[in-house]
């Protein structure tokens, strides 16, 4: 579809929705011009004037111009899952969609029961004592950890002293970023030859200043830090709290228990590991769980069993306060509960088996393609649920790099791959993850496309560099993105900057 921007569509007086005039008795009782003159809007917002059908058709076109899981996506660090429509439709029923979080708990027993039961499921998977679902994503759960740690140290009168958070340079950016936003100083440990920071480095980094450590394991390379128990021990020895960022849980589901490894808290991404939709970036849930020792500091409310029913516990005087309004993205919690129920213990265990086996199968086949290199080539052990790869050899040979590959993949109906979080320790990186959803046939086809683009990079590098070629639009020009005179985050700004109109009313 050659689809215009909605702001260009329509005609004067076109309507997509009517609202009735107030009932006669209402107008008679209250009159007109109810907004105080000082605040009454005088201009007419420059919105499109289109019919209901035109809005529907426009956005249906745009949806069709979105690959969104329609192809094959082995997007590493995001763990592609099947998003059950059964769960989706259940949450769209008025019994959940038309429910207000301030309703009396007596009217919320169904959803509270599900949240309580799901808390129990996560407790079993992690060994933690209490979960909350208020955080709106994994990063927000990391922030929750930082804020819980603040409350914990504040309660002990040590907040001014415990000023540091220690993590690995390979940890997800949200860990250092949220800790910093919460006011902690971040200590990043570099990787050593085994692919993870050394225990000695950790021991050197932690001290009486350390408030907490925040870690992934395995990391995005697919490397598992086998000294993790010693890490936790070293951190505990200086009194620091230990947080397990379970972003890469898929390969260890049912295999590891964060609590058994000694961690005080952990988080699960329900929109990732637990099959709730990610929806292009939320609504999401970072389920945060912790030990009884940290539970008093959790954000409120906490769902608790109360007699025969369920209640919301708001009376937690040591609570860190709210990380976000209300109780969280409740429908996503219900979908995650549905995923866990549909999988069951045996299914979850099998899923991590498949996930790791499939990643190693993929590794094997990728290693046979000329021009690719596996990260940490010295680590020969089987990787976990994903592996970071590098295009450095072929990039040096052809000049075609990972961004070009990503652009070209879309032409094959394949979602562009995930390259790497910052910093790019591995040159020209990409990070595929097979998970338990994709069939062997899908994985094979994905690898075939990578191999095909390698060939194309050699035979016609320019074509790859100018990809995509059969997508809705051609490659975008990147120069505007950092140029204040060109970037345009709204149509207003675009019209003003592109000189298309003189209607930049109200612009700065």
């Amino acid at each position: 579809w050659d689809e215009p921007v909605v702001m260009e569509m329509g005609r004067p007086g076109g309507r997509g929705q009517h609202f009735p005039a107030p009932e006669a008795e209402v107008s008679e009782a209250v009159g007109a011009d109810l907004i105080p003159a000082a605040m009454a809007r005088k201009d007419r917002p420059e919105l499109p004037e289109i019919t209901e059908f035109e809005a529907q058709r426009h956005y249906l076109h745009l949806s069709q111009m979105t690959l969104g899981m329609m192809g094959i996506s082995l997007f590493g660090t995001c763990t592609m899952k099947y998003n059950s429509k059964t769960a989706e439709f259940a949450t769209l029923r008025p019994e959940l969609a038309e429910v207000h979080p301030y309703q009396h708990p007596e009217t919320l027993q169904g959803v509270l029961e599900i949240m309580h039961d799901f808390d129990g499921i996560l407790r079993s998977l992690s060994g933690m004592d209490q979960f909350v679902f208020q955080a709106g994503g994994g990063a927000n759960a990391a922030y929750t950890m930082a804020c819980v740690a603040r409350a914990y140290w504040q309660d002990r009168g040590k907040l001014g002293e415990r000023t540091e958070m220690v993590t690995s340079i390979q940890a997800h950016p949200c860990n250092p970023a949220t800790a910093a936003a919460a006011g902690f100083k971040v200590v990043n440990l570099p990787l050593e030859e085994n692919g993870y920071p050394s225990l000695d480095a950790l021991k050197a980094a932690v001290s009486e200043r350390t408030a907490l450590i925040m870690l992934n394991n395995p990391d995005d390379m697919g490397i598992y830090n086998p000294e993790i128990k010693e890490w936790v021990k070293a951190a505990k020895e200086v009194g620091a709290l230990c947080f397990y960022d379970h972003a890469n849980f898929n390969g260890v589901m049912g295999k590891l228990s964060a609590r058994e490894l000694g961690f005080d808290a952990c988080m699960f991404m329900l929109h990732k590991t637990f099959g709730a939709p990610k929806a292009g970036g939320g609504p999401a849930v970072g389920a945060f769980g912790c030990s009884d020792e940290l539970a008093p500091y959790l954000p409120t409310p906490v769902v608790v069993k109360s007699g025969d029913g369920y209640a919301l516990d708001d009376d937690r005087p040591k609570s860190m306060g709210k990380i976000r309004e209300f109780w969280g993205n409740v429908p996503q919690v219900v979908k995650a509960y549905a995923w866990a129920r549909a999988m069951g213990a045996e299914g979850i265990d099998l899923a991590s088996d498949i996930s790791v086996v499939a990643n190693n199968y993929m590794d094997k086949r990728l290693s046979e393609i000329e021009g690719l290199a596996r990260s940490n080539p010295g680590v020969s052990a089987h990787r976990m649920e994903m592996t970071r790869w590098s295009l450095e050899p072929i990039a040096q040979e052809t000049g075609v790099g990972t961004v070009d590959f990503a652009n070209r993949m879309a032409d094959y109906g394949i979602d562009p791959w995930w390259m790497s979080h910052e910093p790019w320790i591995v040159a020209e990186p990409f990070t595929p993850e097979a998970g338990e959803l994709w069939s062997k046939e899908d994985i094979d086809m994905w690898i075939d496309v990578v191999a095909k683009i390698c060939e194309e990079a050699r035979s016609d590098p320019e074509m790859v560099k100018t990809a995509p070629h059969n997508q809705a639009i051609a490659q975008v020009k990147g120069d505007a993105f950092e140029d204040p005179s060109k970037w345009a985050m709204t149509w207003r700004a675009w019209k003003r900057k592109s000189g298309e109109a003189d209607t930049a009313r109200g612009a700065a």
């Binding site: 929705q17 917002p45 008025p94 609504p283 499939a358 052990a381 970037w487």
Partner: protein, 468 residues
């Protein structure tokens, strides 16, 4: 895997033989072998203790639906709850579009493959910008409270100051989030949150107290319009003027549904504007419909201070063709980790899609009619309730969709009133009595376009009955 286990409908490679086939290709003898990195003593000792698997969709559905049916909904009951999540009409086309699997998908996506989504995001920002009369709109963050929190931190970054002013009559839920973003005091990088008194006769900001507190250490003043307790801040332009004079950023919170009838904040001097996304076509979802927007004027110092995703329209390699991508991608935490602006991650971007569709359906006339309808019905409700003996409307004539109802003279607590209403199929307003606002036994009632005159009379009649 036990060989007699049925293949799972959500795992293609659980079909018989597939794992073995892959193991053979790898050259591994067993599944155990691929887990070789994990030391033996790391494996969990406690067996998983989960409820029985419901691999049959039919059983799963029954479990979910039968549990959810234990809820009572605002569709089957008449609800006057608002305060951060509001019951508004959601057009069916919005539900359709956000439910399309291309959008309600598990992928995070990419700009190359998801042009349609990118354009929809841009259209969200563009239309919201048209309502706000502002040129920069970021993709939404988790919630309105979070949006304010980030806006406060933006203001602190921009001004280099570390104190923010908020109204004394603030939503405790949002205020708690703001405090989480700014404090505690022990942290070196903390931002102090100071309350500005309210004028008790109008509920509006006390401009005298504001003037006293607007010092050189203040990064931002925040107010809402309409405010938490439903009042319309007629002094908005004056506040912004005072702030500008003090080198202070004016941060405003607005209900986007008010903007068909209320002045755009871009027109009264707001520097950064926040608000809830949920009213723009998102169901309440038990609070899971929350989302918060942040917008500002198009100046580099603002743009460089954003924490999240800014979608910009740009040209493509094809002459005349427009595409979309992320502006200033390196200033967020993905680009700079702990040195980025706050942090970003998964957020509530699906609601940007809902909002884009919603705003395109309403258009300028729809927003005008909607605003008119809401304010009329809310005033009507306030009027009828005010006529119930013992019931007092605290600020009767300055409300958009919410207003404070006081029960002190009825001899009943809000909790008692609400219990009695609930028994009659009505969810009364939010209980304000425990919030330390000094408003006694008061409740915050919310009336929107979904409440007909009949519904409102039913509320007033029921109120009369239970207070008789």
């Amino acid at each position: 895997m036990a060989s007699d286990m049925r293949a799972h409908p959500w795992m293609a490679n659980s079909a018989p033989g597939v794992i073995d086939e892959m193991l053979a290709a790898i050259g591994a003898a067993s599944v155990k072998e691929v887990f070789e990195q994990i030391p033996e003593d790391h494996f969990r000792k406690t067996p998983l203790d989960l409820p029985p698997a419901l691999t049959s969709e039919m059983e799963l559905r029954r479990d979910l639906v039968s549990k959810l049916k234990k809820n009572l909904s605002c569709e089957d009951n008449l609800s006057f709850l608002g305060a951060g999540v509001w019951q508004h009409h959601v057009p069916a086309v919005v539900d359709e579009i956000v439910g399309r699997t291309e959008f309600a998908t598990n992928v995070w996506g990419s700009y190359q493959s998801d042009h349609g989504r990118n354009q929809t995001w841009f259209e969200f920002s563009s239309q919201l910008g048209a309502l706000l009369n502002l040129d920069v709109v970021q993709l939404p963050v988790y919630s309105w409270g979070c949006a304010i929190g980030h806006a406060m931190r933006m203001a602190a970054r921009i001004t280099g100051r570390s104190k923010v002013l908020v109204p004394a009559f603030s939503d405790p839920e949002r205020l708690s989030v703001i405090r989480t973003y700014c404090q505690p005091m022990e942290m070196q990088t903390r931002i102090e949150v100071v309350e500005v008194a309210a004028d008790p006769t109008s509920g509006r900001l006390d401009l005298g107290d504001l003037a006293d507190k607007l010092g050189e250490d203040v990064a931002a003043v925040y107010f809402e319009n309409p405010a938490y307790l439903g009042t319309i801040e007629t002094g908005a332009a004056e506040i912004a003027k005072m702030a500008r004079a003090a080198g202070v950023e004016t941060v405003v919170g607005v209900d986007p549904l008010s903007l068909g009838v209320m002045t755009a904040p871009g027109d009264y001097g707001a520097d950064i504007v926040t608000g809830p996304v949920q009213p723009l076509g998102v169901h309440m979802h038990c609070g899971g419909g929350a989302g918060g927007f942040i917008a500002s004027r198009d100046e580099e110092r603002y743009v460089r201070a954003y924490n999240g995703f800014l979608v910009s329209v740009v040209e493509t390699r094809e002459p005349g063709q427009l595409g979309f991508g992320l502006a200033c991608p390196h200033q967020n935490s993905y680009g700079m980790r702990e040195n980025g602006n706050d942090w970003t991650g998964n957020s509530t971007y699906l609601w940007a899609i809902a909002g884009a569709v919603y705003m395109s359906l309403l258009g300028p006339e729809g927003f005008r009619e909607l605003g008119q309808l809401i304010v009329s019905r809310a005033r009507y409700a306030a009027k009828l309730l005010g006529e119930v003996p013992g019931v007092r409307i605290v600020w009767p004539d300055t409300t958009f969709k919410e207003f404070v109802v006081n029960f002190d003279d009825t001899g009943k607590t809000v909790a008692e009133v609400n219990d009695a209403l609930r028994a009659r199929g009505i969810f009364g307003g939010k209980d304000l009595s425990g919030e330390g606002l000094g408003l006694g036994q008061s409740a915050l009632y919310c009336v929107t376009e979904v409440h007909t005159a009949n519904d409102i009379r039913r509320l007033a009649d029921t109120m009369k009955e239970i207070l008789a």
